[in-house]
Structure formats: structure tokens, C-alpha cells
Symmetry: C2
């Protein structure tokens, strides 16, 4: 990851640019910030600033070479250096994230899933899901950076403690539980319920205005 | 939803309080902001302020009656008034959100799922998944407030346009695509890739400090 500081908004736009650029037909070799802004419905000034921050390949009239721009964004985000993760949770959810191409593309190397409700290991597509009891024996010889928690609410804190003991430096929390962790651990929470409530709030505000 | 303005951070803590309160043993009838703050590892001042904003039931030494506090938070968030949603996407993801209890608890009434890869309707637990062709005929007689998009990247914008034409006022976007919508439409995006990149960035920052 580059040491240039970027805003949260810019950070959220980066995967959108990458996704757009990767989906362009091979015949398009060059692209301008203006064209990207138009296609994505974003402000031209923001797009221009964002791209200038991650790439110096922009040329007057020619724009960016698509291939170079993809490369520059990926380098800036450092997605090519892989970090290891394991997922703990319930079979179906684990399976989806285990096989989610976007994780791989963001440099997250998910090694395996662990399911408290299963008693035998099984192969979910390309990766294995093991009974939760095997978490410690599996992780001991691995360098685990991120622990993903999709467990039932009641198990979440205990699973978190186990992952931290196993050396996870970050916890990616898909449960609505507030996890207590040592100060040096990063927690990234996906709060589905808060998203629903935010949407409802915005809907209500728009209805009141109109 | 109350018309009191609250911050994003407070909004994200509300479901965490609800979840914590709902999980307390029935024998605990009263609880203080201090105890909640400690259990959730949050600052006492924030918790005190949050709760005072949604409830006037706090009593010196006694704290809040748990049942009343749950009620006050639910009323504040207006989760008891249901709004309708449909999900469009791919079978497995649809199935999980269709049967996600948290959605129901947040007042989101998901009516059905629509899958571009299925040719026959099927019953996924309590709710039906239909072929995508049936989206228009299903929605015409329903009052759809929210359209959830979990479609393959290439289909996302077209699905979004169809949902807006069918009257959706908000789009809940689980794809990494930037969706173009008319100005009066709310878009709430869940950007998994951005979450991964944010975590990596924080990990890197902590590693540089230590």
C-alpha cells in the first residue's frame, strides 16, 4: 500500500474504477478521466484527482493507457501482495465468501473455512471447510493475518478470542456483535442491520422533503 | 423513525445495543449505561448520550428497564413499521438474505427473490425464488420500496433500471458496480472489496507504528 494518505470516499471509489477498467473491451486501449467520470456518474474533478493520486500516466488528449492505469491502481492498493485469512462461521455463508473472486482480487488469500455445525471436512468448490475443532491445529503452522467471523451471535466473541490467540492481526466481523479485542487488533465490521436502518432513514428524509 | 438527527456512529451502535439487550438473560430486568458500556467495550459517555437520545427511561441508580429500553430503541429506529423489498441476484446469495432474521428485525419485509439463472420457481426455506423474467409481473401489484441487487456485475445496471421502473425508492447494492439512478433514488452500497482494502491499509499503518 502506498504511504500517500487518501480519504475514505476515494478508497471506496478505487475498486469501482478497477472493476470498470477490467470490464472494458480489449479494443479500448486508452481512456480519459472525463470518460470514466461520465460512465460511472461521478464528478469529473474527483475522478481526475483520484487518478492523479495513484498514477502519473495521464497524457493530454490521450488520457491513460488502460493497462497501465489498472496496474497503477493495483500497485497503489497493494492488492498483489497476498495476506492470509481463515473464515469461521456457518456453512452456507462461509462457502460464498470462500469462493468470492473479489476477495482474491483484493489480495485476500482465504485458506479455509471452519464450521461449528459440521463434523467432517468437505470441499466447497476450490477450498476446504473443516469442523471448528480443527481451527487451532490448522492455523498453528500458518501465518494468519485476518480472521473472518460469520458465526452465530453467541459464538462470536469466543471465536474472536481464539483467532486473536492464533495470531490474527485483524478481525473482519460479519456479526452484529461488538467484539472486544486487544488494542493492537484491527476490527472491520459489516453491519447489515445498520445499513438497513440507514436506508430507511434516508427514504424517510426524502419523503419528507418531497 | 424519529426526526431527531443522529450521527452515523450512533446509528451503527444502535443495532449493537439492541442485539446485546435482546441477548440478556430474562432475570436481568434493569441495566445501567455504565454496565452496557463496559460489556460492549464502548466509552461510557457515548453510551450515556446515545441512550438519552432515544429514551427518557433512565433512572438514577436503577438505570433503564431493559424491556422499555428495547422498546424505545425500536421505536426510535421505527423498525416495527415494515417496508417491502425484493432481491435480484444469484441463487445462493439470495437464499441467505431472504432467510436472514436480522432483515426482518430491522423492518425489512423481503417478499421474494429473483434469479437470472433459474428457470423454475422454488421454495428457499420460507420464501420463494422466481426466474428473473417474473420480476415485473410479481412487482406490479406490490408496493416495492427497496430493491436489493446481488446480480452478476454485467447485469447490475439493467436490473437496477428495472427495479427503479417498478417503483423501488431505494437500491441496496451488493455489487462493486457504480449504479446510475435518478436523483430521488437512495443507493446504499456494500463494498466488500473496499472493506478488504481498508483493513489492509489499517494493518499496514499499525505495522509501521510498531
Amino acid at each position: 500500500m502506498s504511504s500517500v494518505k487518501i480519504s475514505n470516499n476515494m478508497l471506496e471509489r478505487m475498486p469501482v474504477y478497477l472493476n470498470y477498467l477490467n470490464a472494458l473491451p480489449k479494443s479500448i486501449t486508452n481512456i480519459s478521466a472525463t470518460k470514466i467520470a461520465k460512465a460511472l456518474g461521478l464528478g469529473e474533478v474527483s475522478v481526475r484527482k483520484d487518478l492523479a493520486k495513484v498514477s502519473d500516466g495521464g497524457r493530454c488528449k490521450l488520457g491513460y493507457r488502460c493497462e497501465d492505469l489498472i496496474n497503477d491502481i493495483e500497485n497503489f492498493l497493494d492488492v498483489k501482495s497476498k495476506i492470509n485469512a481463515v473464515i469461521v462461521g456457518d456453512g452456507e455463508l462461509i462457502k460464498i465468501l470462500l469462493n468470492y473472486q473479489g476477495a482474491e482480487n483484493s489480495g485476500l488469500n482465504i485458506l479455509a473455512g471452519f464450521d461449528s455445525s459440521c463434523t467432517k471436512q468437505w470441499n466447497s468448490g476450490e477450498k476446504m471447510i473443516y469442523p471448528l475443532e480443527q481451527l487451532e491445529s490448522f492455523c498453528t503452522d500458518q501465518d494468519i493475518n485476518i480472521g473472518v467471523i460469520m458465526s452465530p451471535i453467541k459464538e462470536a466473541q469466543e471465536v474472536c478470542d481464539r483467532l486473536v490467540r492464533l495470531g490474527a492481526k485483524a478481525i473482519w466481523n460479519f456479526t452484529p456483535v461488538h467484539l472486544n479485542v486487544p488494542e493492537h487488533i484491527v476490527v472491520q465490521s459489516e453491519n447489515i442491520t445498520a445499513s438497513i436502518i440507514k436506508m430507511r432513514m434516508q427514504l424517510k428524509e426524502k419523503a419528507e422533503v418531497s
